[in-house]
Symmetry: C2
Subunit: 390 residues, 2 copies
């Protein structure tokens, strides 16, 4: 709550990103990222709409919960309905009726998940479509072009994402390719107003992470993501490698941690200095009947909620919590009603997006550590854990 | 368009139902039914929310499309979560967050669909729960009590609904039981402000229909439904028996045709004199990718919509049609996105509810026949068909 713990910066770089406040006790910062579809207040959580829709949610509900940017996937959209088709229909924003900003993942992660269906060369990646089984080839330049056709605000480059536990040699090869592809991607961009982010790879090896971060900065991107985490490694490793790597990235650019994580991890990685996050957890868990609340996880099918007239989260003012009881939500879930997935998704995404909003306010007010504590995250403990690991 | 074709009636009965206008050329009428949760303008379509939820729709969206009353099912709710449970949580309206009126079907139709799992006696019906397989027994009085616990606005009595093609003897037995159960149901009612409707049975036999209608009126109900149609008979028979039977019901009470039908059938049965309708078709077909539009049925997965920037229905101002293209809706459907079912359900229910609104306006303005024609229904042809059948 000490106002001196925040340093307001009249951000020097005349770029698209401004750091508005820097927490003095941690690496957390409060920023603003300008996109072609408006400003994104950071730290920000991006709801995931892989196929051009956030499962069960109408676009006006996403604005309603305060989301300013969503994530979609250029690989999935290229497979169906096709980037050309979406361009011909006015671009992805118009196609899905979303007026806010869109970031698309390149699909590198998805292609590399197609085990036995893909072959990687220095030129690019050959794979079989998960839709029709047909052979396709993506060069990094194709991925840039696809995202320019989609007309998104932020495009991720094609990277090679090795699985957790990959041999050091494979991680090194993936790193070399990712840098090479990053250079080609940067050279291939044509679309004005679209931001392009590089992706740091290097597995759990801190030296390789430093090499990757350095090489990407040499190329120069509008923002930097840390990829290759939450791919099967332990959570302590995620925290250690993520926290280390963010420190290798430039202060004046947005820093995005891909695919992470729990509500508690979000707080920890904001403290570490990340500005942007995406994760399927709030929406996927909602479909499985699990809600994130101020009182912890709620598994809605549990019989303890059978006659509960309480809202999911007594501290929440989302439309699910203000209109329905746990008993009703449980009834919908056990009856197999799709309204269950919709209402729980709405709540969970609101919980994530609103958590970011609260952290932003705390960063403005110099109360970040106290706010983190109110969310059940002890930053002192986190710092000593990190020291223990290093 | 002739204003003389409508007779405004200062409705004589000081009851809950008023006929506000009577079309002179058909049996169609414009009415208003008072319930404990507000007036229902008739003719009215009731969206179906069997398990206490209209699939995919939030209650505020149901109000938004103009629905004043929805249908739920007392049998399904009694099985899960239980009528007592819902009563303890403040009644069905509060449970599901719906401020409008609710009619519950008794579940007679559902219990009689549980082939091999039920045994009917004059006392009531024994059946196995479709949830836990446990034996249950419903007397007509239990069904009244359940609906009183739910606190709904309109309760249907327990009836016996024979399948299409049942032997005359079975239809006669079902009719006798339905009348007997109706008498017991009427005697069992306790709850002030809840309306109770009788259900006319008698299969396709017009004499038995007349007998059933007469016996129910002797008992006296707040409204009358025609049941046992759309259970497998031909559509011409549905029309002939429905149109005949509605003429046997009192003018001063609401007349409800259960489980019917297509958008065209609704117009025909409004012309025949029915005031209330329910049908799963708009919501079920939506989940299967079929939309009702002013230009006819649209099967959204058809490849012709692949690149269509047109709305589902160019004549529709619902949120689905004003925000999304056919191409996007097709993409959602073929991608298995639940938003597809939600958006198509929204449109189809709006189409049904709005069709009723347009018919009400036409009845007020004396333009019913012209409005029916604009909906593709030729009432002259319908009348000659009926004469042909009789």
């Amino acid at each position: 709550m000490d106002p001196n713990s925040v340093t307001y910066q009249a951000e020097v770089s005349a770029g698209h990103f401004q750091v508005l406040a820097q927490d003095s006790g941690t690496h957390a910062r409060r920023g603003c990222l300008m996109t072609a579809h408006g400003p994104i207040q950071t730290p920000a959580f991006m709801p995931v709409g892989t196929y051009g829709a956030v499962k069960g949610m109408a676009p006006w509900e996403l604005s309603g919960i305060g989301a300013e940017i969503i994530l979609s996937n250029a690989y999935h959209l290229a497979m169906r309905p096709g980037a050309e088709a979406i361009e011909a229909m006015g671009g992805l924003h118009h196609f899905m009726g979303w007026k806010g900003a869109i970031l698309t993942d390149s699909g590198g992660f998805q292609v590399f998940s197609l085990k036995g269906m893909r072959r990687v060369t220095d030129e690019g990646v050959e794979f079989r479509s998960h839709i029709d089984g047909g052979k396709r080839f993506f060069r990094p330049e194709d991925v840039v072009r696809n995202q320019e056709m989609l007309g998104v605000d932020i495009a991720m480059i094609l990277d090679e994402c090795p699985p957790a536990g990959a041999p050091r040699e494979d991680v090194a090869t993936a790193l070399r390719r990712t840098t090479d592809w990053a250079r080609r991607s940067r050279a291939a961009r044509r679309r004005e107003g679209q931001l392009q982010f590089g992706i740091v790879q290097g597995g759990l090896d801190l030296e390789m992470r430093a090499q990757s971060a350095g090489e990407l900065q040499e190329i120069g991107f509008d923002g930097y993501a840390v990829g290759g985490l939450s791919v099967g490694e332990g959570r302590a490793e995620t925290l250690a490698v993520g926290s280390h790597t963010v420190g290798l990235l430039p202060q004046g650019k947005p820093r995005y941690l891909m695919g992470v994580g729990t509500p508690e991890e979000l707080v920890r990685f904001v403290a570490a200095g990340f500005d942007m996050f995406d994760c399927v957890m709030p929406s996927r868990n909602a479909r499985n009947g699990m809600a994130f609340t101020s009182e912890g996880r709620v598994v809605i099918k549990n019989s303890q909620h059978r006659a509960s007239t309480l809202p999911l989260d007594p501290d929440c003012d989302c439309s699910t919590c203000t209109n329905f009881s746990r008993a009703y939500l449980r009834h919908l879930y056990v009856s197999g009603e799709m309204l269950s997935a919709r209402l729980l998704t709405h709540h969970n995404l609101y919980f994530y997006v609103n958590r970011m909003k609260r952290l932003r306010s705390a960063l403005e007010n110099g109360s970040f550590r106290a706010e983190a504590a109110s969310m059940g995250v002890d930053l002192d403990q986190m710092e000593s854990e990190e020291r223990g690991i290093q």
